[in-house]
């Protein structure tokens, strides 16, 4: 197995990595990071291997996702970035043939532990999918869905939370007059923001986005990106993207994946300007992928 690079990069303490990155990024305006010095870890994977029946999709992945930052997963199609993302809220459980080894820690607790209630985990780790998937219900009910499942039925509380979530997703002004309209009647970009509102209504700790803009036009994409920059103060965001420009625009940290391996993790600017691995530089310069 050809993973020397990754092993060289990741098992070392995250903090060293970060500080090294920060030294290189000296002079950048991102004062918050500079001051923090060390980042708090939100999600950590330890020797994560994932198999779909006989085919292995993830090879010994070790990553640490920093808290309250935007982390982007990039890499060519089929490299396992979506699969890795779906490990964080146990979405892979739905696939019968999927088998997982290793650990995924959320706030230092293993989410694959027997005692973990998957439904509760998914409330803490929200997810937005590639294609907008609003429910065929009203806009209001879409956003209130998770709350109703939690057992919130108080009208006032629901209305307040729905409004806050829609404002948070920068959709409120566009839909406030038609909350009873079907969510499927919105445009693609609006639908995707509705889905984001639906997720943040539950106040999750982490928001996973699986190529959220791949089905959207550039203007809608710009809006979503703008939204992500606003949301990163409140949530830990992990975004899978095909689009390297997008990763560069929105993320603080970037993980490059290839063939099921986590090849290189670094702060975004460093990774794009001075990648350490040959595979990374080959990919970002467009030699493959």
């Amino acid at each position: 197995m050809n993973t020397p690079n990754m092993n060289a990069t990741l098992p070392r303490s995250h903090a060293i990595n970060i500080s090294a990155a920060l030294e290189r990024a000296a002079g950048r305006e991102n004062a918050g990071v500079a001051e923090a010095g060390t980042e708090k870890v939100c999600i950590e994977t330890k020797n994560l291997n994932l198999h779909y029946a006989a085919a292995q999709a993830l090879f010994n992945v070790n990553v640490k996702i920093p808290k309250s930052r935007v982390t982007a997963f990039i890499g060519p199609s089929g490299c396992g970035k979506s699969t890795l993302l779906r490990c964080f809220n146990r979405m892979n459980d739905l696939v019968d043939i999927c088998r997982i080894e290793g650990q995924v820690l959320l706030d230092n607790a293993d989410i694959y532990d027997r005692s973990v209630k998957v439904a509760l985990l998914r409330r803490r780790v929200g997810m937005v999918f590639q294609k907008p998937n609003p429910f065929p219900k009203s806009i209001f009910e879409n956003v209130a869905y998770g709350l109703r499942i939690m057992g919130v039925n108080d009208k006032k509380a629901l209305a307040e939370t729905v409004e806050r979530a829609l404002r948070g997703a920068a959709l409120w002004d566009e839909v406030k007059d038609r909350l009873d309209a079907n969510g499927l009647g919105l445009s693609g970009g609006q639908q995707q923001r509705l889905v984001i509102a639906r997720a943040i209504a539950l106040e999750p700790e982490v928001l996973l986005l699986d190529e959220p803009c791949s089905a959207l036009d550039p203007i809608a994409t710009a809006k979503i990106e703008e939204l992500l920059l606003e949301l990163k103060n409140r949530f830990t965001i992990v975004i899978v993207t095909h689009n390297m420009q997008q990763a560069a625009r929105v993320s603080d940290y970037t993980l490059f994946m290839h063939m099921g391996e986590a090849v290189e993790f670094n702060d975004t600017e460093t990774l794009f300007t001075t990648p350490k691995m040959d595979r990374t530089s080959d990919y970002i310069t467009g030699r493959f992928g």
């Binding site: 739905l94 439904a119 999918f129 065929p136 499927l184």
Partner: protein, 551 residues
Amino acid sequence: MKTWIKSGEPWIWATAGGIAIALVAVLGVLWLTAARGLLHFWPAMVAETTYVEKDGSRIRLIGEIKEQEEVAVRRLIESGFKIESTDKFTTRYLLKLGNRDVHGFDFKWYPAPLLSEFTYPQDLITVERREWGNFYGHLKAVKENGQVVAEGVAALPELERRIQRASELFQKIFHIEKDEIGDLNYEMERLRLKEKKLQLQGKLDEPARTGMEKEREALNGKFGALQARLEKLRGEIGRDSLSAEVMNGQIVDVPLEKVAEAYRPNAMGLVDKVGYYFRKLYAFGTENPREANTEGGIFPAIFGTIMMVVLMSILVMPLGVIAAVYMREYAKQGPLIRIIRIAVNNLAGVPSIVYGVFGLGFFVYFLGGSIDQLFFPEALPAPTFGSPGILWASLTLAILTLPVVIVSTEEGLARVPRSLREGSLALGATKAETLWRTVLPMTSPAIMTGLILAVARAAGETAPLMLVGVVKLAPSLPLDGHFPYFHLERQFMHLGFHIYDVGFQSPNVEAARPLVYATALLLVLVIVALNLAAISLRNRLRETYRGLEGM
């Protein structure tokens, strides 16, 4: 030619032809039943003519011309008619002569050469009787206690007035017999069962016995009073009669208590006829049958059909949906589930009479018998649920239509996109919550489609019903004013069986045939109405979950 075939045009013609044939078949059925059935209610003219008997004597005929057909003269001569004619063909007429009690027959064919010209005298009356079918004749007089009170021109208005009075009395008697005495009988029976129950439990002590005796006496007192009132009304209703001259010159008295309606069809204008027509049509849909179902209305059959289908829907929906949800959502997809699925599909092909036999053996005798033993021991040996009834009929049909509902629900479940399930799960919903809040609502149009197919099949089904609850004539509806209002153990009437009964089991098939068509048309209309209701519901659901296809 080859290019024409290659152009694909024959294919278009073939498909369009298929549709055309289907349309023609459907419209043909509707047209046939409508034409034959609906004309029955139009007031027919009553013709008068003379006929040459075999011995040369002439007799008078009075009746409605029901049918006419071309027939070979030779055949008529061979069968004994004395016809002198050079024509090869001639017409023969089917006359409805009525007065079954006087002549002994109702319908008869007469060849045209032996008949004189038809005339339509204005004073001929048609009397619809509650027994013995129609009566035709020249109205002569109206009598009260055997004494003539009106004759000639004055007779008809007097007759109408007195029929009105007799009808009101008849309604009163009917009400007392059916409702008030029915209520008393119901109370009596309840009392008897209560006594029996106490007896079975060994709790029938003296105070209870005297209390019940008192109640029974009170009921008997009421019953006596009703009997007296009934006696008086019966005396009153028997007061009047009409006398009329029938075709053989005899003067016949018809007591007005037997008369439902009398009118002069030959003197009626178009407006009168249209009014009469719609009145009869309405009565057909709202009244009880008379004369072994060959006359009167078919309301109990309509009611029974609809109630059975509604009950069936209520029973089959949860069963089918739950089975489909398990097979599609929870069960591990493997050979076992595949075998079950094949078995379910094959169930749809089992002949319906087999379901009837199963229903009789399992539901009626086993389940019903057990229920009787457990809950109604006081009524034994008379069965309560242990005999065919509407509940068992509905359950049998529910089993019969189960495969349809399962299959379409499964297809609906398969169509709900994975992305929506994931969306729901990602918000912290459990699988059950996802099913309940998102997947099943989105499957509802497909479930409705299954229900539509099930309703269409169930409403038209007849064979199994004969075994598990349908009867020729049910004494009371399965829904009435007595607690607990729904009497699911009762037998009921059904349009499909009614068609069979009237058309093939009736003593007077000729008279009943138009009713068969009318009933068939009504059955089709009932099915269409039930289907339209389900379809509109489905369309509303589809509207709610539109946009699904794009995902």
